[in-house]
C-alpha cells in the first residue's frame, strides 16, 4: 500500500511573520525588508514540507488573511463585514458583489510564492468558486448561476496565469460549502463546468477538491460525479463512521483528512496507521492519500508544524 500526502489551505503565520506584516502595514519596515522576511518564511515552510516527503509542495498561503480575501480585488467585488467561518472562532470578511465581476488585471499571481516555479511537484490551494458564491453577499446579480459563471470565468483567467507561470502540478480546491451544507445536484453540475475548464488549462495537472466541516455525509455518494482526480474528506469534524459508510464503494480516489486542524492533540503515527488500515478495509482504495481536515491556521504555528511532521513519522513506520 502506497501512502501519498499533501497539505492544503492557509497555514498559520509565525510570530515573526505576523509582526512583520504589522510593521509593514504601519510603514515601520520597508517593502524590501518585508519581502526578505516573507521569503525566509516561505522557504522555512517549504523545507519542512519537503523533509516530510509530501507528494506535493505548496506555499502555505502565508499572505492570505482568509480564503476569500484576494478575490475582493476583482472588479465588482468589495470587502464586507466580519462573518464567522463555519463553526469556528475565526472570522472572514464577506465579499459583497456590487457590480458585474471582471478581472481587470491579474490578482492571484501576487498571492503565491513565485519560487514555486522552481519546485518539483509544486501545488496551490484555493477556495472553490461555488463556496465563494455561497459565502458572499450578492447585491448585483440576483441570479446565482450568472454570479457563478462570471466569477468562475474571472477566476479561470486569473488562475491560468498562476498555473502556467509557476508550473503547477497539483491544485487543491477547498470546499467548505460542499462539506457543511446540503448542496443540490445542479450546483455540482455548475462546479463541474468549472472543473472541466480548469482541466483544459493543463491536462496533466492533478485536481483535488477537499470537503471541509462535513456534517451531512448522506449526500457524499453524489460527490463522485465531480470531475476531480481526488476527493479530500474532512474525517475529523462530523461523524467519521457515517462518512466512511457513505463513501463505501465510491469510484474515486479519496484523500483521508485525518490530520485534525481543530485540535492541538498531535496524532500518534500508530493511531493514524491503524485508522488508515481500518478505513481502507472499508473503502478499498488502491492508493492511500492522507491530508489535513481543513485549514491548519485554526492552530498555533508550532502546533501546525508538529502536525505536519506526523506525516513524516507515518511514512517512517509504514
Amino acid at each position: 500500500m502506497k501512502i501519498s500526502s499533501y497539505i492544503f489551505g492557509i497555514f498559520p503565520k509565525s510570530d515573526d511573520l505576523r509582526k512583520g506584516m504589522r510593521d509593514f502595514s504601519k510603514g515601520k519596515i520597508s517593502k524590501e525588508e518585508f519581502e526578505s522576511l516573507l521569503k525566509k518564511e516561505y522557504n522555512h515552510l517549504i523545507n519542512l514540507l519537503n523533509s516530510c516527503n509530501l507528494s506535493y509542495i505548496y506555499d502555505g498561503l502565508l499572505v492570505w488573511f482568509d480564503l476569500l480575501r484576494p478575490f475582493t480585488n476583482y472588479e465588482g467585488i468589495e470587502l464586507g463585514t466580519l462573518i464567522r467561518w463555519f463553526e469556528t472562532n475565526t472570522f472572514y470578511r464577506m465579499p459583497v458583489i456590487k457590480s458585474k465581476i471582471k478581472l481587470e488585471k491579474p490578482v492571484l499571481i501576487n498571492y503565491f510564492y513565485n519560487e514555486l516555479k522552481n519546485i518539483k511537484n509544486s501545488s496551490i490551494s484555493l477556495l472553490d468558486p461555488l463556496s465563494f458564491v455561497k459565502l458572499s453577499e450578492d447585491n448585483y446579480y440576483n441570479n446565482e448561476k450568472e454570479f457563478f459563471n462570471d466569477f468562475s470565468n474571472a477566476l479561470l483567467t486569473d488562475i491560468k496565469l498562476v498555473i502556467n507561470e509557476l508550473n503547477i502540478a497539483f491544485i487543491s480546491l477547498i470546499s467548505p460549502y460542499l462539506g457543511y451544507h446540503d448542496f443540490k445536484e445542479e450546483e455540482l453540475e455548475l462546479l463541474n463546468i468549472f472543473l472541466n475548464k480548469l482541466r483544459e488549462i493543463k491536462k496533466e495537472m492533478v485536481i483535488s477538491i477537499n470537503l471541509c466541516f462535513i456534517k451531512n455525509s448522506k449526500k457524499l455518494n453524489k460527490i463522485k460525479k465531480l470531475n476531480a482526480d481526488i476527493i479530500g474528506l474532512d474525517l475529523c469534524y462530523g461523524d467519521r463512521e457515517e462518512i466512511i459508510k457513505n463513501i463505501k464503494g465510491i469510484n474515486k480516489q479519496i484523500a483521508l483528512g485525518l490530520i485534525d486542524s481543530n485540535i492541538s492533540l498531535i496524532e500518534e503515527p500508530e493511531y493514524l496507521k491503524n485508522e488508515i488500515l481500518r478505513i481502507n478495509g472499508i473503502v478499498n482504495q488502491k492508493d492511500v492519500i492522507i491530508t489535513n481536515s481543513s485549514d491548519l491556521d485554526l492552530l498555533p504555528y508550532n502546533v501546525a508544524m508538529e502536525k505536519v511532521k506526523v506525516i513524516k513519522k507515518l511514512n517512517e513506520i509504514k
Binding site: 498559520p12 503565520k13 510570530d15 505576523r18 506584516m21 504589522r22 502595514s25 488573511f65 482568509d66 466580519l82 464567522r84 463553526e87 469556528t88 472562532n89 475565526t90 472570522f91 472572514y92 470578511r93 474525517l235 475529523c236 469534524y237 462530523g238 461523524d239 467519521r240 463512521e241 485540535i263 492541538s264 492533540l265 493511531y271 491556521d297 485554526l298 492552530l299 498555533p300 504555528y301 508550532n302 502546533v303
Partner: protein, 378 residues
C-alpha cells in the same frame, strides 16, 4: 412604578488610557480632567501615582482608579445596573485562564485579519487557583450605591475557545467513534469547568453579597448541536445558588438555536442579546424597518417568563445612535413583549473596542431614550 426598562451595561469598556506605560504631563492632565468630569474622588492621589510611574509601579492602585472611573462614568450617564467596565481584566478569555490551574497558553490563533488571541490548552483537570472576580466585585460594592451585575465568562465558552488536550487524550480511541469521543471529551471539560471553576467563583461572589451575575456565553450557538451542553453547564454552575442569573449571547447566526433548550436553564432569569448590529438605522417601529429585532417574536412565542436584555447600541461602530432610533428599537420590543418590566436596555455587547468618549455618548443617548419612553408610558 419606575422599576421597568432598567438600563445596564454588558461588560467591558476599553482599558483606560491611565494603563499606558508612558504618559506625558499633558496626557496626565487630560486624565485628571476627565476624572473630574465623572466626579472621581482623590484625583490628586491618582495624579501623584501617574507622575511617579503609573501602572508599571502601582498596578493595583491604577486598576482601582480605572474601575472607579468606569463606575463614576456609568453613574453620571445614569445607568441603573453597573459594574467596573472590566478594567482589571485584559480580555474575557485570557484573563480567566490566568487563574485556572490545568489550562496553559499554547500559542496565537487568528480571529480575523491580523487579530490573534492567545489560545489556552487544557493540560489537566481545570481547578480554580484563586477567585478571580471577588476582589473587583468588593471594590465595586464599596464604591457605588447602584445595583451591580458581575459578568463572568461562562464554562462553555471557556471550553470552546480552548484546546482540549487532556480530555481528548483520555477519550480518543475509547469509543471507536472519533466524533463521539471528541464530544464526550468536550462535555467532560465543560462540566468540570462549570463545577470546579465557575461555580466556585459564583459561590464566592454570592457569599459576599452579589445579587446579579451575568454568564457570558458568546460561543453558545457556534455549534448548534451543543446548545444543550451550554444549558447543562449553566445548571451545573448555578444550581442551588440564590442569585439573579442572566446570560449574554452575541453575534449568533440564529438565536432560535438556543430554544427550546435554554428554557431548561433552571436559574436563568434573563437573556441579554445583541440586536442593533443586525438592525437598520432608519427610524420606525414597524417590522420591516426593525428587522434586526425580528427574533423577539420567536422569543415571545417561546417564553413569557424570561426577561430580555435588549441590545440597542452597535458596539462595533463609532456611530452614535440617535435617541429617536433607540427609542424606536425599544418601542418595537414593547409592542411585541408588552410587559416593560421584562425588558432591560443595554448595548449589544461590551464596548471595549470603542473609545470612552464614544462609549459615553452612546450610553447617554440610550439613557435619554429610556427616560423619554418612560415619561410616555407613565
Amino acid at each position: 412604578m419606575n422599576d421597568f426598562l432598567l438600563t445596564q451595561e454588558i461588560g467591558s469598556l476599553a482599558r483606560h488610557s491611565m494603563f499606558k506605560e508612558k504618559l506625558s504631563k499633558e496626557e496626565i492632565e487630560e486624565i485628571i480632567k476627565e476624572g473630574d468630569e465623572y466626579g472621581v474622588e482623590n484625583l490628586e492621589n491618582l495624579k501623584d501615582l501617574l507622575l511617579k510611574g503609573g501602572y508599571k509601579l502601582f498596578p493595583k492602585e491604577i486598576e482601582n482608579f480605572a474601575s472607579l472611573y468606569a463606575i463614576r462614568m456609568f453613574e453620571k450617564v445614569g445607568l441603573d445596573i453597573i459594574f467596573n467596565g472590566e478594567q482589571p481584566r485584559m480580555e474575557m478569555y485570557q484573563y480567566p485562564i490566568l487563574f485556572i490551574e490545568g489550562i496553559k497558553p499554547v500559542g496565537y490563533v487568528r480571529v480575523f485579519d491580523l487579530q490573534y488571541f492567545l489560545k489556552g490548552e487544557v493540560q489537566d483537570i481545570p481547578k480554580l487557583k484563586k477567585f478571580y472576580h471577588l476582589e473587583e466585585f468588593i471594590f465595586v460594592k464599596n464604591n457605588t450605591k447602584k445595583k451591580i451585575k458581575i459578568p463572568i465568562t461562562g464554562p462553555y465558552t471557556l471550553a470552546d475557545w480552548s484546546f482540549n488536550l487532556y480530555y481528548q487524550r483520555k477519550w480518543i480511541g475509547k469509543l471507536n467513534n472519533y466524533y463521539r469521543e471528541k464530544y464526550e471529551a468536550k462535555r467532560e471539560l465543560v462540566i468540570d469547568l462549570a463545577r470546579n471553576v465557575i461555580r466556585e467563583n459564583i459561590k464566592s461572589l454570592v457569599e459576599n453579597g452579589a445579587e446579579i451575575i451575568q454568564i457570558d456565553e458568546p460561543a453558545a450557538t457556534t455549534i448548534p448541536e451543543e446548545v444543550p451542553l451550554v444549558v447543562e453547564a449553566f445548571n451545573e454552575a448555578t444550581k442551588g445558588i440564590n442569585c439573579k442569573f442572566t446570560m449574554h449571547v452575541c453575534f449568533s447566526k440564529d438565536y432560535k438555536l438556543l430554544f427550546p433548550y435554554i428554557l431548561e436553564a433552571k436559574n436563568l432569569k434573563q437573556l441579554a442579546l445583541e440586536f442593533a448590529n443586525r438592525d437598520k438605522r432608519e427610524p420606525g417601529v414597524n417590522e420591516n424597518i426593525r428587522k434586526g429585532y425580528s427574533f423577539l417574536k420567536d422569543f415571545a412565542d417561546y417564553t413569557d417568563k424570561l426577561e430580555i436584555g435588549l441590545g440597542v447600541l452597535d458596539v462595533h461602530v463609532d456611530y452614535i445612535e440617535p435617541v429617536e432610533l433607540i427609542k424606536d428599537r425599544i418601542s418595537f420590543a414593547l409592542k411585541i413583549l408588552k410587559d416593560p418590566s421584562r425588558i432591560f436596555i443595554n448595548p449589544d455587547c461590551g464596548l471595549r473596542t470603542r473609545s470612552w468618549s464614544v462609549a459615553k455618548s452612546k450610553l447617554e443617548n440610550m439613557v435619554k431614550a429610556v427616560r423619554l419612553l418612560k415619561q410616555e408610558l407613565i
